[in-house]
Symmetry: C2
Subunit: 131 residues, 2 copies
DNA sequence: TTTTCTGCAAATGCTTTGCATGGGA
DNA sequence: TCCCATGCAAAGCATTTGCAGAAAA
């Protein structure tokens, strides 16, 4: 627990938006001007590992940090300004209609990817356990 | 229509997998050894613009090209080997159960992002049309 | 001929790493 | 004291770009 880590956590907890690493960095620098960008990256990586935050990869390769809800959940991303909103929906059913109604977003597209273990790799994992 | 572009299209149409740029590059080089990586990038970018292919950004920053179905659709991505499968489901309802049944994937998580225009930017867009 | 594409290499942007220093427990 | 975190700078990786030559239309 170093002042830098406290500062990162403070920034993330006080913000309800999805900050970029740069934004976190700049926010911290007002309090701790000697903090380095590398430390922010390292701290965020640590927080990700212990499940405190989640990361949203943007199409340009950069990423945003979600410090509020580490569980995977739908996002609304504006194609124009890049704003990210948490889509507050309880089920995956009738999502787009629901999102249009609630958030007044014009939905243009989506990205839906599931992460899991394919049958082949499940076998490999099982074999490795046995060995 | 240059030989290089034909080659890229050929590779993409013949493959039913989700190739990385490198894989496309290597596949082409067997036929056209003088093709450069930059050209592959440029060609894929062009194909993306005209909607012929879609791009799947991986968590490591690299991307895979989907030459079969340009429409956004769910993917199954293996956490171990990185294999990408198109999830053949008709609706978004009861997805994970359905996916487990059909593809025998162990679903560990997902990424669901909607892209659209936020209310603010809709206003801006409207104003710009008027101006 | 005129435009567009190619290929090389350099540049870019975000992120990661190596390593020596320094603060925390 | 011992260890881990920090900060700087350099490296890394995927991708993009500038530009001159070459091919397409």
């Amino acid at each position: 627990m170093t002042p830098q880590r406290v500062a990162v956590l403070k920034v993330l907890s006080e913000s309800n938006t999805h900050l970029s690493i740069e934004e976190i960095f700049n926010a911290i620098r007002t309090d701790f001007p000697m903090t380095s960008l590398a430390t922010v990256y390292k701290t965020v990586a640590t927080l990700k590992e212990i499940g405190e935050v989640s990361e949203i990869k943007m199409t340009d390769g950069s990423s945003r940090i979600d410090g509020q809800s580490p569980e995977p959940h739908p996002h609304l991303i504006c194609l124009d300004c890049g704003e990210i909103l948490d889509a507050d929906t309880e089920s995956l059913e009738h999502l787009t209609d629901c999102l249009n109604d609630r958030h007044h977003y014009q939905i243009k597209g989506y990205r839906l990817d599931f992460f899991g273990i394919c049958p082949e790799c499940q076998k490999i994992r099982t074999e490795q356990q046995v060995t």
